[in-house]
Amino acid sequence: MFGLTPDEGSAIALSLRVASVATLASLVPGLAIAWVLARKRFPGRALLDGLVHLPLILPPVVTGYLLLLAFGRRGTFGSMLAEFGIVLSFRWTGAALACAVMGFPLMVRAMRLSLEAVDRRVEQAAATLGASPFAVFLTVTLPLALPGVLAGTVLAFAKAMGEFGATITFVSNIPGETQTLPSAIYTLTQVPGGEAGALRLTLISVAISMGALLISELLARRLGRRLGQGHEQMARGGGGA
């Protein structure tokens, strides 16, 4: 298919795997931190907010190097994890970690904005009907915030598909193990005669990103048809408040 070499094929498969694992693994912590930032006022909130956003403003190479220092074999967390047989540096799992960290601010930001937009008065009504705080979150908050949660997830996935700087710094560029799509394209542009392969991978990369965007747009529109009108209705109903 597309006349891909085995290395190119494995780079695509690896990128999809790394991006999926990174996105899925970030989902629950991302939602939790977005909820905390949207709803709670506590000392250290600004610090947490800054920490989450740090990968967005740091040069990716710096983030990758910090990951290497922390999670490398001799790093604080790396040596701890190594005792349990978990090695991240120069492995595809490390690439997933790098992608997750880089995509995290985008995911949290989108989720937080949509959680902030949820009508607290409806949540209160649900509580008076006997729903515990967790039940309110599952049955009211999360469904109403779903378009933003979805948007955050797609953004994080797209970011993970394209992550290069932090990944190559942290886990290098080993074909079949840590050579993701961007790394493979970079490698092909560095060798004579690699242009055709680079172009093939570039087109595939564009197709995957567009596909993800289209699917999320489609889902968001279907959700929006139900929820968007719901928000309007609430605004009308709340006119007398």
Binding site: V122, Q124, A125, G130, G230
Partner: protein, 366 residues
């Protein structure tokens, strides 16, 4: 069930310091906006925590800041209907109604109303499969009431549930609340600033003014004495329970009879034999020492002066006992002196039949 509430709370310039007990039946929290009514409701529902306070339903304590008890909202089992319906927008009407029911599924301590009965009572059977998005204000509010009723509440709070509705929708929902009060045996605390609503619904009235309790007691006594606060003194009036005796169709009137005697009022929709509660505003009652003849006014009741209350602006509220049913009349101090009214003076009370506000008349089911 007796509800005990004692709350103190300070927010910026607003101080709430209110304590009252509500006997079984429907208790109206009455006051102008900003008097603290909604804050009291929010504290009772557990949505706002007061600085100091105690809330109990009979001997069951929901909040006691001294003993550090604060039952969270979802375990208080207090059904709450807000000004705006607050339906869950991504659920259908049926799912909204089932929402509270589901969380109360293990509870059997209150008899609770069956879904079929609630749906019939509120007339929402045809809406069940609709999304809440397209409902009108009146429909939404009826679903909100149904949803609260079906959560097996021990107490129902209603925070100006009719405030966002037009007169027609109000007229549609008021009778439903009357029926709830009479048939369900569910204690209700109802917030309002409309005298006509209070007159129709209340068994007990608690008047709030500037975060404090200005008056509290049986509805009949509070309304008759005009204890609704200075702003509403002019709206004092008697509440009389009367039975629909006959229709006088050619005159467009309905004849009622009660302890005070007979009254003719603008035609009512209630059937003959129904007990209705009517509100007779004190400003619409004239007093005469002699039996008046040749008057155009339709209603003449005889009795004796039982009490006099001075009010602001030179007005006096005169209570007239008509064989046990007490009317009140708002006169000027000058008239009271001219007629030399004192407790015991035999007197005739005259009420024009058009003085009755049909919105102030409600059926009572016994």
């Amino acid at each position: 069930m007796t509800i005990t509430v004692d709350l103190a709370l300070k927010r910026d310039a607003f101080h709430l310091d209110a304590a009252f007990t509500a006997p079984p039946g429907l208790t109206v929290l009455f006051g102008r906006s900003g008097s603290g009514k909604s804050t009291v409701i929010a504290c009772m529902a557990g949505l706002v925590r007061p600085d100091r306070g105690r809330i109990a339903l009979d001997d069951q304590i929901l909040l006691d800041t001294v003993r550090n008890i604060d039952v969270p909202t979802h375990r208080r089992r207090i059904g709450t209907v807000f000004q705006e319906a607050r339906l869950i927008p991504h659920l259908s009407v049926r799912q909204n109604l089932a929402y509270g029911r589901w969380f109360a599924r293990g509870l059997r301590d209150t008899a609770g109303l069956e879904p079929g009965a609630v749906i019939d009572l509120l007339g929402i059977g045809h809406l069940l499969d609709r999304q809440v998005v397209g409902l009108s204000g009146g429909e939404s509010q009826r679903v909100a009431i149904g949803r609260a009723l079906l959560s097996r509440p021990r107490l129902l709070l209603m925070d100006e549930p009719l405030a966002a509705l037009d007169a027609e929708r109000k007229a549609e929902i008021l009778p439903l609340i009357e029926r709830l009060r009479d048939i369900a045996g569910l204690p209700i605390v109802y917030v309002s600033h409309a005298v006509s609503e209070v007159a129709r619904l209340a068994n007990t009235i608690v008047v709030l003014e500037g975060g404090r309790i200005a008056a509290a007691g049986p509805a009949e006594a509070i309304l008759r004495r005009g204890d609704l606060g200075a702003f509403h003194a002019a709206q004092a009036g008697a509440l009389l329970d009367m039975v629909v005796e006959a229709d006088v169709p050619n005159a467009g009137l309905t004849r009622l009879s009660g302890r005070a005697g007979r009254l003719l009022v603008p035609r009512l929709s209630q059937a003959v034999g129904t007990t209705v509660r009517i509100h007779v505003p004190a400003r619409d009652v004239l007093l005469s020492l002699d039996d008046p003849r040749g008057l155009s006014a339709r209603n003449r009741l005889s009795g004796h002066v039982s009490a006099l209350h001075d009010q602001a602006e030179g007005a006096v509220l005169v209570e007239v006992d008509c064989s046990g049913a007490v009317l009140s009349a708002r006169l000027t101090r000058a008239s009271v002196q001219e007629l030399s009214l004192a407790p015991g003076t035999p007197i005739f009370a005259i009420i024009k039949s058009v003085a009755f506000d049909p919105h102030g008349v409600g059926a009572i089911e016994i």
